[in-house]
Each structure stands twice: as C-alpha cells, then as structure tokens.
Symmetry: none
Subunit: 234 residues, 2 copies
C-alpha cells in the first residue's frame, strides 16, 4: 500500500505564533510532506488559500484578526478540503463549535508530534482514497496533474480555461452540469455573458477528447439543461 502520493498534498498551516508554525512545519517536512504554506492571520490565510488551493488546512482557533471558525467558513466557500483544528487544552466548547461547523478533526495543545502526523495521515488517506491521475474516457485519457489529454500515443495539452471546464465536469462526472455552473467555474465572480465563449471552449475541448467532435460521446450536451462528461469504468 503506497501512501507516497499523500506526501505531495498541499497543506496550509495557520497559527499566530511563529514558533509553533515553525515547529509544525518541521514536523511535517521531516515526515516527508513537501507542499506546505503558512499564514499568521485570517486575511493572510484567505489570500494564500486562493493561490495555493490547499488540500488540507490546519488552523489555530485563536487568530489576531478573527477566529479559526470564521476562517474555515471562508475556506469552505473556495473548496471542499478537510480542516483540522488546533486549540488550547480544555476548551470543550470550542471543540464542539468546530466539529459542529464541519471540522474534520480537533487536536488539543500540547500534542505529541506523532499524533498530529497520524491524524493528518488518517484524514488524507480517507479523503484522497487513491491517486487518480488518469481519467479514462471513450477514446482518450485525461491527466489533470499535467493538464494533458493522451490519445493514440499523442499528448495534447489543455489550456487554462479548458482545464477548468473539464475539471468542473469531471468533479461531477456522469451528472449534468448547468451552463451557469460551468461559467461560474471558469470565470468566477462575474460569470455572465460568457455563454457563447463557453460554447467555443466546449468545441475546442471536444476536438481534443472526441473521435468525432460533432458527434460527441464523452462530453455530451443535454439540451436545455447543460453538459455531461461520461467517464469509463465503474
């Protein structure tokens, strides 16, 4: 059972004490985690999260410009990754607030390094069941980690927008994704007026992933409802 891929996950640490931050970081790095970002307040954390797209967040409850709970709500709006809280001993109320809001684990300071590592590993293992770099489609495979499509030995690169759209479709593989949802995924805040542009992108994606782009089988349109990505295998 190879768990190596878990070491590549992006982890965001947020704590106001630089000492603790440094300690936790070194614990994780020693264990082999390679992608770690840190922040010392809510504002900084939100900015880092935006560009870093963490796959796990470890948050202190007490922060100079707010609290960890408020921060978690912010983070949850951006992506659905697990959140683990650190807090001072004994504040049971905090613990319950955190769990109630949907935290994934809660560790009381002071803690044993080993326990932190185990809990992080347990959450990552559950959340990211197995590495799935290759998504198989009818007549090609998509490699999201390289943003490439492989078809008949040939490697075709995806552009940024194509990647975002395909990813949004893949996250809902098999289900219908509305035009609005796709615009939202690709253009964010102001996703209006791009319907036509979306269509052009869909066409370009189809030229990369379909045998016959005019008779799509993997990225099909459901008239009046949206688009749907069909992936192979259970």
């Amino acid at each position: 059972m190879s768990l190596e891929y878990l070491k590549k996950k992006r982890i965001l640490l947020v704590d106001d004490e630089p000492e603790l931050l440094k300690m936790v970081r070194s614990i994780l790095e020693e264990e082999g985690y390679r992608q770690i970002e840190t922040a010392q307040c809510v504002k900084e954390a939100a900015e880092k999260a935006e560009s870093f797209s963490p796959e796990l967040a470890v948050l202190d409850v007490m922060l100079p410009d707010g609290d960890g709970f408020e921060l978690m709500e912010k983070l949850r709006k951006m992506g659905d990754y697990p959140v683990l809280f650190l807090t001072a001993r004994g504040e049971d109320e905090d613990k319950f607030t955190g769990f109630g809001l949907g935290a994934d684990d809660y560790i009381v300071k002071p803690f044993l390094p080993q326990e932190l590592l185990f809990r992080i590993a347990a959450i990552l293992r559950r959340t990211y069941k197995e590495e799935e770099p290759q998504v198989r489609l009818k007549c090609c495979t998509i490699d999201f980690s390289r943003a490439e499509v492989e078809r008949g030995g040939e490697r075709i690169p995806l552009t940024a927008k194509e990647y975002e759209l395909l990813n949004a479709l893949y996250r809902n593989a098999g289900r219908i994704v509305t035009i609005d949802a796709l615009c939202e995924a690709a253009w964010g805040d102001n996703p209006y007026g791009y319907e036509n542009s979306l269509m052009a992108h869909i066409r370009r994606i189809r030229e990369k992933i379909e045998e016959n782009p005019s008779r799509p089988v993997s990225l099909v349109t459901v008239k009046g409802l949206g688009y749907k990505l069909n992936v192979e295998g259970k």
Copy 2:
C-alpha cells in the same frame, strides 16, 4: 446541507463490556442512527461484519479473545470502511499502533458523548459523499442528476421540459398536481395556453417511463383534477 443520509449508515460496535455497548448504542440511537449492530468479541464481530457489511466500525482495543488491531485487519480484508478505536486513558502506545495500522480516529475513555458523535459524523461525512437520489418507479428508475430514465438496462435521456415536469410531479409524489401547477412549473411567468402542449409532454414522458404508455400506472391522470406520480416507497 442535508446530512440525513448519514444516519442510515450501518455501524458496528465492538466492546466486551455490555454496559458500555448499551450506552454507546443509546447515544447513537438518540442522535438518529438507525442501523447499529454490536458484538462482544473478535469472533462474533467477524461473523456480524460478514452479514451486516458495516460502513463504520467502532472497536475497543481490549477484547477477550484477541485485540482490536487484529480485528481491524480482519475487517479490512472484507471491506474498506473507516474504523474508530476506543481505548482506556493514557495508553499512547496503543494509540500509535492503531493509527499506524490505518485507523481513522482514536478516542480515549472516558469520553464525552458529544465528542463521539462529532467524530463519527466527521468521518462519515468525509467518507461518504452524498449519494444521488434514484427514484424508483414501477418499471424503471429516474436519475434526476443525469436527467435519465433507466429501464431494463437501457438509459433513456429526458429533455428539459420533460425533466421539469417530472421533477414537479416527483416533488409532490403520490399527491395530485393540477394542470395549472404543472404549467407553472414548466413555463413559469406565463403558463397559459399550454394545456395541450402539456398533454403532448405527458405522453412523451409516459413512453419513457411506462410499460404501456396508454395504460399508465406510474404517471396516472386524475380526471378533472390533474396528474399524479406513483413512486415505489420503502
């Protein structure tokens, strides 16, 4: 965010003290969990797991005929569901053994009921993403997230209007929905003058979901009142 579906998950409790078993069971039942099995030793647990197919296991470390770690290895061979350990205070070595073997969480006795509930909910939430509701009818199933009807292995797509109408009927499954209400659902603002069109759509839907569209059993008409969708309840 509906978390109701988590309450239906099958949970296996294993502990040698009948008292504790009873207590944990009542904590869970009070919270709304409905499918709970218990066992008092490794042997019994293995048997129950076989027939019960748990979706989460809560294990004590100390058992009369073995230990929880050994049991976890047995369970893992049968299925990949999360395991949470309960143990007596202070046995840090146990804790690390458990996590090292792939446990998902670890709670030290004595614990607060609330904490157990939160940790169980957190694990279930991460492990089991919300499932899509499949609506079962007399001779087919409807999958709204894919806008498809599955009948005898065949997948028949629904069009936008068909989707809207079926959805409106499903939201009032078993009850009569008036013609006006259906027009309202499908045509919004100005739902007048579409009665005939509605009929044509009803026909098309029946051809997709009924054995004999002319003798409907799932989407029946109630003369003078409207239509009604009969779903197979359980």
